[in-house]
């Protein structure tokens, strides 16, 4: 069993106890929220995982290696980051795709840049959630910071992975 699995199990047990002893919170309420979330996720994650294998087989690994492989350095990381910012999907789809890219010769640091850019400045989320829910002013600040900090995180990533 890996460390992260142990952390997840410990967190689930600890939080369940916290909800159970909390005077104003009900376990059934929490489990209801979990159930709705599971009903949403199951039909997404199972086809997404199956797709990951097919997509990895179909991707042109030589081309991917040339553009965003381990040798592509900072420029490759920025190409990957642009893809990350533009890819319109949630974690249950983008992580299988990144797993597929990794098995098709993409570099570690480049995929880290892709994910960081997807997290900080995903364009779909910007239009659907940031602007309507957080307002243009806050969105503008966050996106500008994303533009500056994505390269910073990429440089750190390249330094860590080499």
């Amino acid at each position: 069993m890996t460390l992260s699995t142990i952390i997840l199990i410990a967190a689930a047990i600890g939080l369940a106890i916290a909800v159970w002893v909390h005077p104003d919170r009900k376990l059934s309420e929490a489990l209801g929220i979990s159930k709705r979330q599971a009903i949403f996720l199951i039909p997404v994650i199972i086809p997404a995982i199956i797709s990951a294998g097919f997509v990895a087989q179909l991707l042109p690994s030589e081309e991917i290696g040339r553009w965003v492989g381990a040798e592509s350095g900072f420029a490759g990381a920025m190409i990957a980051a642009a893809f990350g910012a533009l890819m319109p999907t949630g974690p249950m789809l983008i992580l299988p795709v990144v797993a597929a890219l990794l098995s098709a010769n993409a570099g570690d640091a480049q995929m880290m840049a892709l994910l960081n850019a997807w997290m900080m400045m995903n364009v779909q989320r910007l239009l659907l959630y940031d602007i309507p829910l957080a307002g243009g002013s806050l969105t503008m600040r966050r996106f500008t910071l994303g533009l500056v900090l994505t390269p910073v995180a990429a440089v750190l990533g390249l330094a860590i992975v080499g």
Partner: protein, 189 residues
């Protein structure tokens, strides 16, 4: 609890609940059919066997992640967070934003209403930006459930490490160089 609870954000219901499932099913069908046509049925079966290993790894984690998500949603003391992220909070505001963002459950449809509410209840903008950035790049639920499953512990941790300073820098940049008085248009209704 002394302060009255802030209104709970609407239950986690993404606006288009069927969209991602339809997309994933279409992707599976199209990519599977292409593999069958281009590489034949043997390759398709080999890939399905490999996918099964991945599934065994992901699904139990996903179940745990979903449980944690439900528990956190009912537990997070939103009133406390808003009170301690106020304009006099200083470094404490940034620190709370960092930790709260990393632990906050849910997708954008939950987090953005919380961020808007924090602003409305008087939280400082730099701390709120740290909160949102921290949720974006350091989200623990996504990290433990999704990233570790698909990237492995090592690569996922490296990415987290590279992104660790980002929310703090973002919050401080907004606080120092782009403070609220320069941007009077933030809604505080």
């Amino acid at each position: 609890m002394t302060a009255p609870d802030l209104p709970t954000p609407k239950p986690a219901a993404p606006p288009n609940r069927r969209g991602p499932a339809i997309f994933a099913l279409s992707l599976m069908t199209v990519s599977g059919a292409l593999c069958w046509i281009l590489y034949g049925s043997d390759t398709v079966w080999r890939i399905l066997t490999e996918d099964w290993d991945l599934m065994v790894n992901v699904v139990p984690r996903m179940a745990l992640g979903v449980l944690i998500y439900g528990f956190l949603t009912v537990l997070v003391p939103r009133d406390w967070v808003a009170k301690h992220m106020g304009r006099d909070a200083g470094w404490k505001g940034i620190a709370i934003g960092l930790v709260a963002g990393a632990l906050a459950p849910g997708g954008p449809w939950v987090i953005y209403p919380i961020a808007a509410m924090l602003i409305r209840f008087g939280a400082e903008v730099g701390a709120v930006v740290t909160f949102m950035m921290s949720w974006s790049v350091l989200g623990m639920n996504r990290f433990l459930v999704w990233e570790v499953s698909f990237l492995g512990e090592e690569l996922a941790s490296f990415r987290l490490l590279a992104a660790l300073p980002v929310p703090i820098i973002a919050g401080l940049v907004v606080r120092w160089f782009w403070p609220e008085r320069a941007w009077p248009r933030i809604d505080r209704t």
